[in-house]
Symmetry: C2
Subunit: 405 residues, 2 copies
């Protein structure tokens, strides 16, 4: 009865190489989160696991700085979070305005069109941010139901101010949805203070948890819009009304929650609370400044203007004449360091250096600067030996003095 067997050898136990993850994500994971991942499973209906999900909702509200009841983690990666926000708020024919200045704004357009939205996209060149006035003009012209914008554009390292744009959306009668995949727990995210209607994030950036879950939160207004829908949400898997009943007290069966990933997220959030959000943001900024001082000392600049550079994602120009892949291969092969390449127009032109969550540490800044200097010098790029480390060291010294003052 069985067809011909498909012969295969049983592989040896997994044994991945050791890496220092300084790319655009995933970031290095704290040992306590790895330990949580490896713990034996509870069932997804076990009272103890239900309590863990409740606890996780509380922790997520804290980290999102919101009291939104509808706050939880979707069982997919950050892009599933994006899709969850769009397909729940959009019904076919609804107007959506999307601000595009990189890969993830562009992705939002695609997701919204698939959801049947009438999408208007406004664009800025990659690496730039939107001026509130452009958004005001577009909102007036389009009259959208929903405005979508990326807070931290992972493809460019651009840090978009959100607060005023949220006001503009509301003045125009629209809701606002923001992408905080790369910003959450790295720079301030203020869902209630900014009056954000919907937000999604990912676990593998500044939360330093493996990829696989997408924290989301919806304002009460957005939750009401979802409750009042005329049509069913096109995705069964991402239907927030069903997901909410599963996370809620009636525990209505929807899907089987990814137990181990929820362990990891709970533990990662606990570590964020332990450190404190303000301290965590300050740490990201301090290590960013040291890295930047070191890179500048080697003549390497940012693709994004001063004032809009994300501390956790340093998107920098590859020096003239230096081969992108040659450097990244050597960093990975000899030092075990991963940094990211550029996407789209930045392919071969930029590196993306992440200092995210657990990865944002002086040891990593120092290691990367030293390794990069070696690579660049060997490729014939002129760098004064030790200049990068000296500049970083000075930046750390200044930071320490500022604290002491």
């Amino acid at each position: 009865m069985p067809a011909k067997p498909l012969p295969i050898d049983a592989p040896a136990p997994l044994s991945p190489s050791t890496r220092v993850l300084l790319g655009p994500g995933p970031s290095d994971v704290h040992p306590r989160v790895l330990a949580a991942l490896g713990m034996p499973l509870l069932g997804h209906l076990d009272p103890e696991f239900v309590a863990l999900m409740d606890e996780t909702q509380g922790l997520l509200r804290h980290v999102f700085r919101t009291e939104n009841r509808l706050t939880m983690a979707v069982s997919g990666t950050g892009s599933a979070g994006m899709e969850a926000v769009v397909v729940n708020l959009i019904e076919p024919g609804d107007k959506m305005l999307v601000c595009v200045n990189g890969v993830f704004g562009g992705r939002m357009v695609d997701v919204a069109e698939r959801a049947g939205a009438q999408v208007t996209a406004i664009e800025r060149p990659w690496g730039e941010v939107f001026d509130p006035q452009e958004v005001r003009d577009a909102v007036k012209k389009v009259g959208p139901k929903l405005v979508g914008i990326v807070h931290a554009e992972t493809s460019t390292g651009a840090w978009q101010p959100i607060e005023e744009i949220a006001k503009i959306a509301h003045e125009g009668g629209a809701m606002i949805a923001i992408d905080t995949v790369t910003s959450l727990a790295g720079v301030p995210v203020e869902i209630d203070a900014w009056e954000i209607d919907a937000v999604y994030s990912g676990t593998q950036k500044c939360l330093s948890c493996p990829p696989g879950l997408a924290p989301v939160s919806f304002s009460d207004r957005a939750a009401q819009v979802i409750a009042d829908r005329k049509s069913k949400v096109q995705s069964w898997y991402l239907d927030m009304q069903m997901i909410q009943r599963y996370w809620g007290s009636d525990r209505f069966y929807h899907h089987t929650a990814p137990i181990s990933m929820n362990y990891a997220l709970r533990e990662a959030l606990a570590l964020v609370v332990e450190e404190g959000l303000e301290a965590r943001h300050a740490r990201h900024l301090k290590n960013h400044r040291a890295l930047k001082a070191g890179l500048n000392a080697m003549g390497i600049g940012y693709v994004t203007a001063e004032g809009h550079q994300l501390p956790q994602l340093n998107c920098v120009r590859i020096p003239e004449g230096i081969d992108d892949l040659a450097v990244r291969k050597r960093l990975l092969g000899e030092w075990g360091i991963e940094i990211g390449g550029g996407l789209g127009p930045f392919k071969g032109q930029a590196w993306r250096i992440g200092l995210m969550g657990q990865g944002s540490r002086p040891a990593n800044v120092t290691l990367l600067l030293a390794a990069l200097e070696t690579c660049l010098r060997d490729l014939g790029y002129s760098v004064e030996p030790g200049a990068a480390l000296a500049a970083a060291s000075e930046a750390y010294g200044n930071a320490a003095q500022a604290v002491a003052r």
Copy 2:
């Protein structure tokens, strides 16, 4: 600037209770898989991780018994796999025939309607399976593009023969998609021999990996149907043409693969190959027979007829007068054993006892029978002391003799 702080205490490190998972999933996870989960991460574009994904595709083909090129794991739970199969094969207005004899057939109807399919559902009472003739009649009448049917109905423990129904679908010019969430690696699944066009599964049943990924496979014919679509797949996240380019050699960026979950799946599949599919199926059958002998000795019978009872999911009638929750709470509280309750019409009427993957072991059969006997006797149910264990023991003895003969 920040709004009022949301005060919260940092929780202590995670420390879940120890469980024996004998419900409908998740099942107990092998220590080697837990160890893989806890390993530090590679980046998702790391050549070593790309190789791991290639290796996983090969292992999945082996376990699905297929040579389908389009074989991989979707980054969501089993229900995301269901949705991936439906939304990729269905375009708005397409006809789909769905066979419903439990929760998961019903779910497929909902998912297909949301995808814009014209759905015809045929039904059997919960616990029964479909006769090929009923499917033949419906296929003739409806002329569907796609027939959907559940191989192992997790809500009833019914084991649906598939091979003849696949032939019927093809004779009617339709494709066939099957749900193997609970069957894969527990009972034979023969994707190529049965000529299945699309299949999805979950990781948390007989693969004994945590929930969070959905193995899927599409025949070349189905892959061509996807390639020839007139409309975009409504879900960006589950668009197989994009996912395939990410898993494929060009590694075109789609989403960030859940690294740790992919470690776990690779390791779980390696363990399946190490054991061998035939040996694994035989083990599931042997432990099922012992459990069944023990349950029968206590006067407990199955909701599904002889010959259609899944060895890995024993859906049995709760004895007259016995309170469902009282028993399950005590099993969980005193023994740490989880068994599942009934869904839908079986709520309060049936238990679902899983002997899946790593959980299908004589130690678990013995433990459960002993614990259940104690609970039932304490609740006033008349059971001859030790009868269940004696019957199970005899079944194991018979199995050993059969091997020796």
